[in-house]
């Protein structure tokens, strides 16, 4: 049950990261360093 919850969180975070990677900027006025694997 716990592992399913973690997997769900991971999926949401990965989806958010993928959406952010396809844009020019995060959302607001701070941009954290983008992981190299997402730059490809």
């Amino acid at each position: 049950m716990k592992k399913r919850a973690y997997a769900a969180f991971a999926a949401v975070a990965a989806l958010a990261a993928a959406l952010m990677a396809s844009s020019a900027c995060l959302w607001f006025f701070y941009q954290p360093e983008e992981p190299k694997s997402l730059r490809k």
């Binding site: 716990k2 592992k3 973690y6 997997a7 969180f9 991971a10 949401v12 975070a13 990965a14 989806l15 958010a16 990261a17 993928a18 959406l19 952010m20 844009s23 020019a24 900027c25 995060l26 959302w27 607001f28 006025f29 701070y30 941009q31 954290p32 360093e33 983008e34 992981p35 190299k36 694997s37 997402l38 730059r39």
Partner: protein
Amino acid sequence: MEHLSRALANKVGGALHYPPEQIEVLAYGFFGLLQTAFLLAGTALLGWAIGAFWPCLAAVLAGSLLRRFAGGAHASTPGRCALITLLVCGAAALAASLLARSVSRPPLLAAYLAGCALCLAVVGARAPVDSPNKPLLSKERCQRLRRGALTVVGCYTAAGAAALVFGPGPLPAVAVAVLLAVLWQVLTLTRLGGKLLGRL
């Protein structure tokens, strides 16, 4: 917020036995989600507190959507980012409410269209603007983002003009708040905006 997102990523990634590269991606995603939730809630609360809820929310959403395509200068820390976002959206909402109450619609519409024309010109010339933390390496991607930014400003122009001509209630204030937020975003595309944000 970066520490929290890193801690969450380590916990979730550790439990699922992810490699370090994947945990880094999770941390990036968690940061985006946390920052978005915090800033949306913060601006909604600020908007409600100053009596300009819809203009404040519209300002943050409109500015952020444009920023996803156009990029722009950045603050040096998440805390400064949050402060700038709240100040800009709050000021835009207050100014918009005041203007919508005190200026009649025809001159307001003319000023709105002039502001949108300026935004289109700057976005067409400068967007997208990347940052060292998120470089834009592909020419096709830059062109796609520029087209997206121009489309977004075009949609704001049409929707805002319609709101100013036909819109009842708070819609004119919402339209003006959107324009003010977009003007600020467009400023961050310029060298002047970059220097200003670098100092803040």
